[in-house]
Every structure is written in C-alpha cells, then in structure tokens.
Amino acid sequence: MSLASVSETGSVPIRKRRFARHALPYLLSLPALLVCIGILVPFVTAVYYSLMRFRLNLPAMKGFIWFDNYINFLSDSAFWNTVSVSLTYALVTVVVELVLGLGIALLLVKPTRLNNLASILLLLPLMTAPALAALMWKLMTNPNFGILSYLVSLIGFTDFRWASDPRTALLTVTLVDVWVYTPFIMILLLAGLRSLPKQPFEAAALDGVPRSFVFFRITLPMLMPYIITASLFRLLDSIQQFDIVYSLTQGGPGDTLMVFQVQAYLEFFQYTNVGRSAALMMVLWAITYFLSNIFIKQWLKLRERARGVS
C-alpha cells in the first residue's frame, strides 16, 4: 500500500533502499519534532513547579510538597467550579460552532464566485484578534452606547445586561466565541466538502436516493475525519479560552465564568502563586490530553476504515 513498498521495484541496490525506506519517514518528521522539542524543557520545569509550594512574594515558604497542590484541589469548590465552567464552555461553543459551521459550509458548497467571496468575508471575525474583538463587543453591549443593547431594546429587552448578569454571561461569551470561531470550522469543512469524491453522490442521484439519506449515510461519514480535526482544534482552543472571557468579564460576575486559563493567569500574574498556577495548568493539560486522545483514536479508526474501503 505504501509508497515505500512500490520503490522496491526500482534499480538501486537493495540495502540502500531498505535503509531509505526505513529512514525516510523519520527524516521527514523529525525536523518538526526537533523544533518543538525545545518546548519540552520549560514544560518539565512547569511540572516541577506544580509540585512545589512556590509563591514569589513568600520566598521563605518555598519548598517541595509533592502532590499537595493537586490534593488541595480535590476539596476546593472553586477548583471544581472551574472544571465545570471550562467543560461547559468548551462543550457549548464547540457544539454550536460545529452545527453552525457545517450548515454554512453546506450552504456555500457550490463553488460560485459569490459563495467563494462570502466564504472569505465570513473569515473576517476570525481575522479580528479576539482581544480587540472583545473590546469592541464590550462597547457594543454597553447599555448606554452599545448598538447591540440598543437593537435588543427595540425588540423589547430593555434591561438586557449581557456579560454582566450571571444568568446571561455564558450566553454572551458563547455568542462572541461563536462569532469569532464558527468561520474556522466553516472553512475547514468547506474545503473538506469540496474535496470529497463525486462518484458516490452521482450514483446516489441516479438511483433517486432521498437527500436526507445521502446526507447522513454518505456526506456525513465521508466528512467525518474533517469534522473531527476541526472540532479537535476548536476544543483545544476553547477549553483553554482566555482572551474573550478575560476581556469581557475577568471570570465574573462572581465566579460564573472562571475558566482554567483565567484562574491560572490570575494565580500567576496577580497573585504570583507559581506552584498553584502550574498545578492548575497541569490539570488542564491532562484534561486536554485525555479528550484529544479520544478524538485522535476515533480519527485513526475512521481513516483505517476509509482505507479499507478504497
């Protein structure tokens, strides 16, 4: 199946061939790995910090405490709140963006000039840096000067308080997240849809198969690897959300939106509690690792199946 197996029919001496066959994939992938491996050193440092009582402004108390930082989390309600808020946030945004992104990609799948232009224009929210976009959203949802507050007041919501009300805070940040990141999923799925092979669809059309059947039995399964890649990257970013939440509410009101990264940021930059901050981020890392493992397994399985079919 692989290219390497084909190459054995060539005329170059077999030993050299064999070496090349084995070495080639490593030669191709190792540079990427080497460039990233430097990052592992700070990562290990961070693991070490997470096992310490380490607050920059209490140097006298610095010491190695094994897993105490983690054990303390277990009984800390603020920590569990952070876990649940982060997971809720990630789940809600990824699901909404996936459904919306897939819908838009399907709307724009025909490669007309207008559709192509629309797909590029839809990338504009993604091109606006989230930190700056959030600043603008904060203004647009201001009860005095905000155009969005004004517009919703026209349809009867005169006292809608957006991110500042615990009941609507999650809704508001989700709205901004959806606005910024749906185009990300849309463009990946659009590219995926457009590169799907034509034959199955043509055959189905000839046989007069109902369109819902085509969508659920042909389009969706064939698109699945792209859906998994897109939602995986979205999940990685969204569970680590910082910019939008921090700019709009700093994790408030109360602890309504206290996601991992905001908490870890405060712990480090404001409280200079390096140990706790590192431990929080290690937990976040573990959750991310676990979730992406599931995604990747699924992705590989689908790929295997696709290969088996072809």
Binding site: N57, M61, P143, D165, P253, G254, D255
Partner: protein, 480 residues
C-alpha cells in the same frame, strides 16, 4: 534671542527677578508660552545641577519600563533636559496599561536586567519587595553622595511617603521606622466625587454629603435626569473594584480589612458596621449604578461620566480630571467635591493609588538609574509636569502651592483644589500590607458581585468571605 531668553529665565530661577517680570521680559522678546516653559525648565535643571555632580554617569545608557500614561508622557516631554544635564542616554519601552503589569511581572520574575527602573503602583511593591526584585531606596535617598542636596524628600506628601514604605512583615504598618522605601511616589490619585454640573443643575441636586445622601442624590438622578444613571463606580472582578470609592467610604466608617495582632492577620470585613456599609453600597449599585456594573473598570466609569451617561462618579479625582478635557462630550461640565461617607466623620479618608518609580534589583547600573529617578521625581520636573502637562496629582507639597499650577487647575477644574485640600490629610493607603493582597481583595470583589446580583445575602456573604480569607491566611502561615 534664545540666548537672551535663557538669561532671563536663569535670573528668574536665581530669584533676581519676579515671575511677572520674567514673563513680561519673555513676551517682549517674543517667546511663546511653550518656549518659555521649556527654557524655564532647562534653567531649573541647571539650578538643581548647582551642587551636585550630575555628569558622574555621563555616557551611561539607561532603559526604563513605562506604562502608557499621561505621567510617562510628561516625563518624556521633559527628558531632553535630563539628557543634556547628565550626558546620559535614556531609552524606554512603553506598554499599554492593559498589559503593563504582566510585562513587569514577566520581566522581573525572569530576572531580566534589561530595565533599570520602572513605573509601579504601591500595592505591587508588596509583591516585588518580598520577592527581591526591587531595591530599598532609603540607601539612596539618605546618601548625600548619591542624592543631590536640593532633592528635598521631605517635600513629598507624608502620607504618600509612608504609603510606599513597608517593612515587609505581613500586616506591618506602612511607613514604620523599620520600613523599606520600595518606591518613590511620582503622581497619585485620591478618591472623591466628580460630578456633571449640567445634570446636577437639571435635577436640582447638590454633591452628596454622605453615603445615605449619595444614595438619595443618585436615585434622584436616575429617576429624573431622563437617561443618565446616578452614580458610577467600578465593579469588575478585580482588586481594583475595592480600592477606589468603596474602600475610601469603608475607611471613613473606621472599618479595616484585617485585624493585626502579634504579627497574625484576621479578616475584619464581617463586623456589624461593615455589613451595614456593604448593604448600603450594594443597594446604591442596584438602584442607581451602571446596568453593566460587574464589567465596569476605570475605563467604563470614566467614559460614562465624560459622555454624560452618569451623573457622578465616586472614583479617582484624576479620572474626573481627564474627563473634563480631551474630546469628551461633557468636557467643561465636570466639577469636583470632597466626600466623607460617614455622617459622623470629620473629613474624607480617601484611599490612594500612587504611580511610583522603582529601582530594579537586576539593574547593573543602579546608581545611574537612581540619578534618573531623583530627577524624574524632583520638584523641577514635578512643577513642569503639573504646569504644562497632565502630571496631576503632583506628589510634592511645594507644587500644590505653586501659583501657576493652582491657577491652571482652578480655572478649568472647579472644586478640584478644594476636594484635594479637604481630604489631603486623610489621603493614604488604607489596605493592610500583606502578601496575599491581590488574591484576597479580588475575592472581596467577587463576593460583592454576588451580592449585587442577589446570589448571596450581604451578611452571609461577608461571613463566608471572612472564613474563607482566614483559612487562606492560615495556609500561608500569616493567619491567627
């Protein structure tokens, strides 16, 4: 002509001619106000140069870390004078305020020697000092070999000098005898009422006399002003929500954040008086505060006042000052009033924010950096900034007495001098200095948010907060 102007200003500085004579002479020479200002300051720089070797570090290159702020702008506008006086070169990195302290923490925690001196707030030195990132400046101020004889440290307002000095002991009194001077006050803000005169006239109210009155006035504005709400205060989930108006009013009732006994701290925000104060404050926001209060920071509070969306603010006096200029819609309509929350209190007790200069412990040229710092905090530069730029509030008593500065403020900022004078004596930091300042104060703000959102009753919320804080103090080894 430039030379003659220089001569004139030098004679003025030496006291040979009066100010009026000098200005008359200057106008005869055809020098504009701005040129006179520059020459005057140059002359002053020469005057302070008199008995001190300013050229000692000639050729040294300094690098500063600055926040994008009018104080930094004023310093940069005057920087050429320093360079020509000392023969030193000064470069600087300016970062936006939004990310400034992150940059400082990142630079200092990595032990970077890139920056010699930097801007900081007094609260931040409670972290930087114990972490070993900044120098005790007493070693410089008190050394005649390092500090010029005209520096006049005693001229800096005593409350500010004390508020920037701490012995590093959790709960240790600010400005105690064994305190280390972690930074030099540079410019400061105190918290009083800034209000919109047009709105006040329209509704027919006077600046509030105390907290209950503030609720009434704010309520009347919200009801009668036809749009604007009554009172702007900060509400975001940050220590910065506690430190301005809120803590100023709180202190006016004699309330403290912590009780300190035998070097141990104990949360003190759940007393009966504190609960009563919190109830009033929460009620005030619910009835006549900004709708999006829990996202309100310095910027939103100021913007609303400047754009006529709020009737008054209980926040930094210089926030009201800024909103009275620039391209703000209400520029020219803002006035200022001292505010004592407690009807029984004799005078206001504003908590203060002090922009200061600190000397990095990682600097490889500390003496040279101190040369810059003493110039930047000198009477001469303070005067220049206060007269010509927005270097307000000045930290030196002598500058507050300067006629030109007073005339400028009095003309465009009605009531500003009065609010300052009524409250300057009680102006200082009312927080207890301790290493968990940012964690615990942020939690205080979080609790306040829950109270305003009616998720938590005030009494219960404060008891919970105090219990929570006591536990953390104990964990950190500083709780009783």
């Amino acid at each position: 002509m430039f030379e003659r102007g220089r001569d004139l200003t030098q004679r003025f500085v030496k006291g040979e001619i009066s100010r009026r004579e000098m200005l008359k002479g200057a106008s005869r020479l055809g020098l504009g106000i701005a040129t006179t200002g520059f020459l005057l300051n140059e002359a002053m720089s020469q005057a302070i140069a008199a008995d001190f070797d300013w050229q000692k570090f000639k050729g040294t290159k300094l690098k500063l870390l600055l926040n994008k702020h009018p104080y930094a702008d004023a310093m940069i506008a005057d920087l050429d004078n320093f360079k020509s006086m000392t023969g030193m070169d000064v470069s600087y990195d300016i970062f936006p305020e939004d990310v400034y302290f992150d940059k400082v923490t990142a630079a200092l925690s990595s032990g970077s020697s890139e920056y010699d001196a930097f801007m900081t707030g007094a609260y931040m030195t409670w972290t930087y000092g114990p972490a070993g990132w900044i120098e005790d400046l007493n070693a410089y101020i008190k050394d005649p070999a390092k500090t010029n004889p005209n520096y006049n440290w005693e001229d800096v307002l005593p409350g500010l000098r004390a508020s920037t000095a701490w012995n590093g002991v959790p709960g240790g009194a600010l400005g105690s005898d064994d305190a280390k001077q972690w930074c030099i006050p540079w410019g400061f803000e105190l918290n009083n009422v800034s209000y919109n005169r047009k709105i006040f006239e329209k509704v027919g109210v006077e600046p509030p006399k105390n907290l209950e009155d503030m609720l009434a006035v704010a309520g009347k504005i919200t009801k009668d002003a036809g749009g604007p709400y009554g009172i702007g205060v900060r509400g975001s989930r940050s220590w910065a929500t506690i430190h301005p108006g809120f803590l100023s009013g709180y202190s006016n009732y004699g309330q403290r954040d912590f009780d300190v006994a035998d070097g141990k701290l104990k949360a003190a925000m759940n007393t009966a008086e504190s609960k009563a104060y919190h109830k009033l404050w929460v009620q005030m926001i619910q009835e006549s505060g900004p709708k999006n209060w829990s996202t309100y920071t310095w910027y939103q509070v100021g913007t609303d006042l400047g754009a006529g969306a709020s009737g008054m603010i209980f926040d930094a006096d210089i926030l009201g000052y800024f909103m009275n200029g620039g391209d703000n819609k209400e520029a020219g309509n803002i006035a200022y009033a001292p505010f004592a929350a407690n009807p029984a209190a004799k005078a206001p007790t504003p908590n203060v924010w002090i922009w200061s200069l600190a000397l990095s412990s990682f600097s490889k040229q500390k003496d040279a950096a101190w040369t810059f710092m003493q110039w930047a905090s000198s009477t001469e530069h303070d005067l220049f900034g206060a007269r010509k730029m927005d270097f307000v509030n000045p930290v030196r008593a002598s500058v507050w007495k300067d006629e030109e500065f007073r005339a400028r403020i009095d003309k465009s900022y009605p009531g500003y001098l009065n609010q300052y004078e009524k409250s300057s004596e009680g102006s200082k930091i009312y927080f207890t200095a301790q290493p968990l300042f940012f964690d615990l104060t942020t939690q205080w703000a979080e609790t306040l948010q829950k109270m305003v959102a009616k998720q938590l009753p005030v009494d219960e919320g404060l008891d919970q907060l105090a219990a929570n804080i006591d536990k953390q103090l104990k964990d950190a080894g500083i709780g009783g």
